[in-house]
Symmetry: C2
Subunit: 668 residues, 2 copies
């Protein structure tokens, strides 16, 4: 039963675990940077998990039905790198271990998804590995409900530290997991009682087992250095009908005779003397970075353990279901996408009634959901406000994962991290809604969406003072700028139903990037009244209305302010001032266009920027001396129309500024 017992009799558990410990010790020592204490403390748990329980085949890190292993305590990255090397993952050579934390190595300071095969998600920002793993575990249940256990039946294991459990996002994650009864999720808590500042009891007295039980989990304590207890706990976890926390009592820096159990071993190299003393104490005689042959062979056997299961899975992976499975897990887009969007746009461009872009988004989703079965919706308890639930979507419940809409609860950060997990797992194009201003709550996970280049779509409604009475706590003014600052994140702010549909099409097509759709609460008239099949929003910015002849002024606007610019241009035309209107649904895509196109769109005339937000982020299209009509401070509580007037974001203000810019007047 124990593969190792058969394959490599004579290699002890302690030797296997010490191989992890010394790779971590030696790598941190060589880099003179890193965190040895955690890998040393969790080596026993990891050894039992990887040699006897985790379903994986190191030769195929992308096997869809593998168990997921997430190192939420990402600073302990050498634990993971050691495991990847020992079990024989491609690309993880001993040379890479020696290059720990060096430029270009496969062994950066914290595990980076997409950079190192075997790393399931980028971790380091604490708590998020756990919350991301919840998304992975949800994905497994969803796919299981669609394809059955023959194709989908795997677990998600997460190693967390005290830091992960103190971070608030961990509460959002565990209550969501507990509610959904994610019984294939197993959390291994490195309960070492030490944080950077010292003992955990300097700052925390939580009964974690009781806390997890209160969230609907099974949870119990074990000795994290006793391989029998570890194995028994992992066996027991497989029988649970709910998610499981195994609280593993460990010693940080296990084996270091002088530094064990202290915060001194958390985040610094042990130093030559302590390394030598640790070798002595653990009886490890091999030189630095050398793993004795039998020990390495035993580990490599463990890494190949899953080959049989993987091949059996491949043999079952046949027929129409397998084809669908492959297509959906690959995130393929429907061949009908372009036509569906074009049809939607044709109808929308001819509509007379004003419509909030959040409603346009819902109507787009109503048609997208029909053609894109892997589109997975949800909201952080603002379903009716975010308009995120498409007509065809049924809610997921703890007993029925066949639906494709998730009530994430009032957990913006937990939702965003789960969206990352859903995207990373494969099988879904996940989107989730909240108010734009509450992107701040989810921001650390949005950053990881971007860093990991995941196709996660954030539907962020109530995108300006146009939300009205809820006031400054709910009105984003700096939020667009703060999101546009994140590299690789595409921020769409569509002007009407047509641009909303185009933005959705682009967000789906951006396979390797997250997107934000910033949508209005208030109704907006159609500005794209002439139907064109071409997706103009793909250009980032385009001339919506050209001036008749050489421009006197160019009005640049986004979202709800584009229609104001159009009206202003009409009034200016009556005053013989030739104004062009440029709509900018996406600054990031505009920045990617050819310089010639960008110059032509922006033109030579003086420019006026118009957006119900702060000016920051407009530096690429406005000169310092150009006018900007927008916000300069937080908002206020009042009906939306009163606020636009109060803050001077009006057609009149644009006309006045345009006259001044064109040399026909001054702005008071």
């Amino acid at each position: 039963m124990n593969v190792l017992a058969k394959a490599e009799a004579g290699v002890t558990h302690a030797e296997l675990a010490n191989a992890i410990r010394f790779l971590a010790i030696d790598a941190v020592e060589a880099a003179n940077s890193g965190h040895p204490g955690m890998p040393m403390g969790m080596a026993d748990v990891a050894t039992v998990l990887f040699t006897r329980f985790l379903k994986f085949d190191a030769a195929d890190p992308a096997w869809p039905d593998r168990d997921r292993f997430v190192l939420s305590a990402g600073h302990g990255s050498m634990l993971l790198y050691a495991l990847l090397y020992l079990t024989g993952y491609p690309e993880m050579t001993i040379e890479e271990i020696k290059r720990f934390r060096q430029l270009g190595s496969k062994t950066p300071g914290h595990p980076e998804y997409g950079h190192t095969p075997g790393v399931e998600t980028t971790t380091g920002p604490l708590g998020q590995g756990l919350a991301t793993a919840v998304g992975m575990a949800i994905a497994e249940r969803l796919l299981g409900a669609r394809y059955g256990g023959d194709l989908v039946d795997h677990r998600t294991y997460v190693v967390v530290g005290d830091g992960c459990l103190m971070e608030g996002v961990s509460q959002e994650a565990i209550t969501l997991a507990g509610h959904l009864k994610l019984s294939k999720l197993v959390v291994l808590w490195d309960n070492n009682s030490i944080t950077i500042d010292g003992a955990v009891n300097l700052s925390d007295s939580t009964d974690q087992v009781a806390r997890f039980k209160a969230a609907g989990w099974d949870a119990w304590h074990i000795d994290g250095h006793d391989p029998q207890e570890i194995a028994a706990a992992l066996s027991k976890a497989q029988q649970s009908d709910r998610p499981v926390l195994i609280a593993c009592k460990t010693q940080i820096g296990f084996g270091a005779p002088n530094k064990v159990g202290t915060h001194g071993v958390h985040g610094a190299a042990l130093g030559a003397a302590e390394v030598a003393a640790t070798r002595e104490k653990l009886g490890w005689t091999a030189p630095a970075f050398e793993i004795p042959g039998p020990i390495l062979a035993a580990w490599r056997a463990a890494g190949a353990r899953g080959k049989v299961a993987r091949e059996a899975w491949t043999a079952r992976h046949l027929g129409e279901a397998a084809t669908r499975f492959d297509s959906e897990t690959a995130g393929t887009l429907s061949p009908d996408l372009a036509e569906t969007i074009a049809e939607f746009k044709r109808a929308a461009s001819g509509a007379n009634a004003a419509q909030a872009t959040r409603v346009s988004s819902q109507k787009t989703l109503d048609v997208l959901a029909k053609i894109q079965p892997n589109l997975l919706g949800g909201s952080a308890d603002l379903t009716g406000s975010n308009n995120t639930k498409a007509a065809d979507m049924q809610a997921v419940t703890p007993v029925d994962f066949s639906g494709r809409y998730i009530h994430y609860g009032i957990r913006e950060f937990g939702m965003a991290a789960a969206l990352n997990g859903l995207a990373l797992h494969g099988g879904f194009i996940p989107y989730g809604g909240t108010f734009l201003v509450f992107a701040d709550y989810a921001r650390p996970a949005i950053r990881l969406s971007a860093l990991m280049r995941q196709r996660v779509i954030y539907v962020l409604t109530h995108d300006s003072i146009g939300l009205g009475e809820d006031g400054p706590t709910h009105q984003p003014v700096e939020t667009l700028a703060s999101l546009r600052a994140i590299p690789h994140l595409y921020v769409f702010r569509p002007a009407d139903a047509v641009e909303t549909a185009e933005s959705w099409e682009l967000a789906l097509q951006l396979k390797h990037a997250p997107s934000v759709l910033a949508l209005s609460r208030q109704n907006l008239p159609v500005v794209r009244t002439a139907h064109k099949a071409e997706n103009f929003s793909a250009l980032g910015a385009y001339v919506l209305r050209e001036a008749p002849g050489e421009r006197d002024v160019t009005l640049l606007a986004t979202g709800s302010e584009v229609s104001l610019a159009v009206k202003a241009a009409e009034q200016l035309a009556a005053q013989n001032i030739k104004a062009a209107v440029v709509s900018i649904p996406c600054f990031e895509l505009f920045a990617e266009q050819e310089p010639g196109y960008r110059a032509a769109v922006l033109g030579q005339a003086p420019r006026i920027g118009i957006e119900a937000a702060l000016r920051q982020g407009w530096g690429a299209v406005l000169e310092p001396q150009d006018f900007f009509i927008g916000m300069t401070d937080f908002g206020a509580s009042a009906p939306a129309a009163d606020l636009y007037k109060f803050f001077g974001i009006t057609v009149d203000a644009i006309v006045q500024a345009a006259r001044a810019a064109a040399g026909h007047g001054t702005v008071s």
Copy 2:
């Protein structure tokens, strides 16, 4: 004992509570916007609390020893406004109630601190009221340890909803409060089982009472509509040796015959028919916005209940301790501040050794702590990395609040919200540390610091790729821009020990604004080698090194890149290119200077911006065509020096760009 029983016999509890309900109903109806369900559900709890337990005198909302009441579920703002009106707070007239959610009223959509007397903190972003209240409760214990119960002995009451408890920050708050045994903190949970999307059990199954107990709280359930049970619970809470959760089972929209207990009553006006039916059902015959005389009189008596206690407190508030108390709660700065900083600068300007600005910050704190007793330090478990613990500071513990350093644990968001509560409470100038990149975790509370104009100081170290090996998860590239986007937040990025001390002085002097100090992990040479007592950082930007004669180019840099600019200017001088170096420790202060000064500093020559971060936010000082030497993407894991070279932020790159800008070459 029951003041009301004496003063206004004949007025029933139900009448008092219904007065709240109908003010809420009528105000939301008039605005056709708002949240009636929560005030209707929590009216009984609030009535018992305000008429029999809360220590306050409506005539003096600023009495320092009042109990604090925080409405964390801020969308139920009409509950608070009704209470303020009924108990007779200044400025809260019936006209203001009628102007609920209108421009300029005292009754905005969510309670806004500083706008409405009696509002202790701005709420609406869920969970933060609770976390802020934890800071207030800490402040009470700290002041109590300093001044004794004669001057400081009050409680903090918080009303939370299901949303507050689902938000992760609530976990950070309750575990911190439980750890510190904040026994004067009482949380009243509006346990109505309803969220915006529907029933709570759509998204959550948490046993909240068990969860709070796991965090070290007393917690139990009561009927939130039974005044006897409510009173008994509030009495019992006063006896606890730990913080208390009272789970009040309520009906959202209590009294509305058709909408009670549904999410339909959460966030929308009831409508005329349901309003009429509710009047009928509750036997309320008064017209809209009218409170029958005896009922209003009874409420006003409740509002004056605390007069005796307040006057007794004033009588005790005498002598030297009272003088110190007043000075410290007023946040007065030491008269020795200017001299202390000047002395520090004199020594620092003459120092030869390079020093990280995080270390310079610690050394500044070492001297500030001696002269500014209300300076309260802390860190989110990065004390040794943030260098936040001044030499004289002792840690606060659950049994000893005489210290002035708080180990906040790995709770950036909870820490930031607590800092807001500490500042709002009065008595302290609080600062807290984490890594700059993890400002994202705390961002929703930083936003509230700014919205509330609170003097909270964020010490954010490891401020660029200069942190090295920890890699892109830990390296801020967009964080400076995202913080500079927040109105009323001052972001300092000092270049050396001198600017660090100046930044601290300014952060203390900015009594009505929060500040960020972005500090380097890596050592930096002194650039302000000539001592001047004047605080140049107060100008936001200044010419650190003028060109000899008319400028060929102006180098603008911040923080760790200023010394690169100085070296580049030296090399350029050797090539007969006249470069000025402008240091910009604070963009926000620079924007506040006279146009003439700004123009003189920026000069007419071509400019080059230099900052190890993204360009966004430099639009006010750079033209679109100006060079910028900084980051264009996320960072990487490697030693800091390797990263600066890899990303091209070097003296050579500046020299090359300057030559091109000055017309002496091109940039490859």
